[in-house]
Each structure stands twice: as structure tokens, then as C-alpha cells.
Symmetry: C2
Subunit: 154 residues, 2 copies
Amino acid sequence: MSKRFLALALGAALGGGYAASALAQAKPEVLVEQREAAMTLQAKYFYPIVFMAQGRIPYDAAIVSRNIGYLEVLTKLAWDGFQPSTADVKSKALPAVFSDPAKFKAAGENFQAEFAKLVAAAKSGNEAAVKTAVLDTNTKGCNGCHNDFRAKAQ
Amino acid sequence: MSKRFLALALGAALGGGYAASALAQAKPEVLVEQREAAMTLQAKYFYPIVFMAQGRIPYDAAIVSRNIGYLEVLTKLAWDGFQPSTADVKSKALPAVFSDPAKFKAAGENFQAEFAKLVAAAKSGNEAAVKTAVLDTNTKGCNGCHNDFRAKAQ
């Protein structure tokens, strides 16, 4: 096993009873890399669905179903990377993530609630309901958090 | 939606009938970022299990089950990032990925086969079987591909 993997492995991801000690040991740079990886993959699988909901590309129910299945996992993976130890690591996270953690947590829970409606819509197979839920998840969920807690792209 | 997300969204991830045209448009740098993100998250959730299988940290069945569930998705996400268009982008991928794609594909399938045994072992709930399958997945699966197709860490 390379030192690289070792460093990554000593990051978060132990969860449960180990979380506190493991997170205390995790290098802040590794935590940021891991949470950014989760964001990168959410974008990879979410934005094609947004384009479908916006009518910019054709709707494909099989891709919608596959991507939402992936996103059910991917949407869980970034949160434990926003540790106070990462506040000084260069990233797009705004200081408010760490100075107002209660508001950040509420924004995250709001995202999860919007995404849960999308998962339910996808399981119903109703294309119109999926499109509405995709757009709501994007505007109320993703952007609801990004507007207050993520630096604007240059 | 930011230009950043737009660029990401025009990457892979459309799959099916759109795959060829979407991948042809995807920026090689975005494909590399996405595949590296998938690798980063596989490390995040796999190496704690390796450490449990090696006896370096206590075995926790709940974490094993959760992480393997995440990995059932994460192990699918890197492959479409290894497009020929990315051959000249700086990364740890060795030239053999692109000069011997049949061997690379076989190494990937070998990894998937080892991982499938791990998923089956996890579903059985047999700790000894899980540990054996974790170590096999690491040595025969991950390393079987990394040895030939990934530059060694410095």
C-alpha cells in the first residue's frame, strides 16, 4: 500500500464509534480532497439530469434512474469532510461553513429533503414529477447551500 | 449554474445512446478529475476495511457493511474516464492504459470479479470470509491493475 493510500485511509470514513478519533487524526488536506471528490461526482451525475429537466437534451428514463441511484450514495459522502480542522485549507468553502455550523447543517438537511423528493419521484416513474423535483433539488437544494457557503466560480 | 458545473456536466455520465457524442465533447481534464475523484472515494471507504482485515484496527461489521454498500456504486464510476483523449493529461495513469486497452479492460474486469466476491461475503455476514475477500480484492484486484497501469507514488 502506498503512503498516498495510507494517508487517505487514515482520513474519515470509519464512522460510528471511530469517527471522533479518526477524524481527529485525518489530515485536513485529505478531508478537503475527499469532500471535493464527492462534489465532483455529484456534478458528473446530477447535471445531465438537470439538462434533461430543462429540455436542453432528450429525457432518458434509464439514465435518470441510474444516475439517481448513484446519487443516493454520492449525496452522503461530502458532509464528514467539513471538519473545523479544514477551515484554513484552500477551497471554495466560505468561512460561514465553520462560523455558522448550525445554519450549514440546516442547509444540508434542506438539500437532503429536496433530494429525497427526487428519489421518490424517480421511483414513481412519472417524468413530469421527476423534472420538477430535479429543478427543485438544483435551485432549492444545491444552490440553497452553495449561495451562502460556497465561493462563486471565477 | 456556474461555468464550472456546466463543464463538468458536459463530461461523461450520460451513458447509453449519448455516450459517444457526450464523451467526444468532454474536456479531457474534466474526465481525469472525475476518474480521480472516484479513486479518491474508493480509497476513503476501502482502506479502513483493509486495516480491519489486517487486524490493525478493530473489526466493525456495521462499518464494513456501510462502506461496501458505498463501494458497490463507487467501483463503477472511474472507468468511463479513461478515454483516449485523456492520454496526454497529467495523471498517474501509465501509457499502457491507452496503448494496451484490452489488457487494461481485463485488469478492470478482474478487479470487478474480486470485488463481487467481497460483496457476496459481506452479504453472508461471515467475518472470516469478508476479511479474506477484502485482502484478495486489495492484492489481486486493486494492485493487479495499479501495478501495470498506475505510476508508483513518489
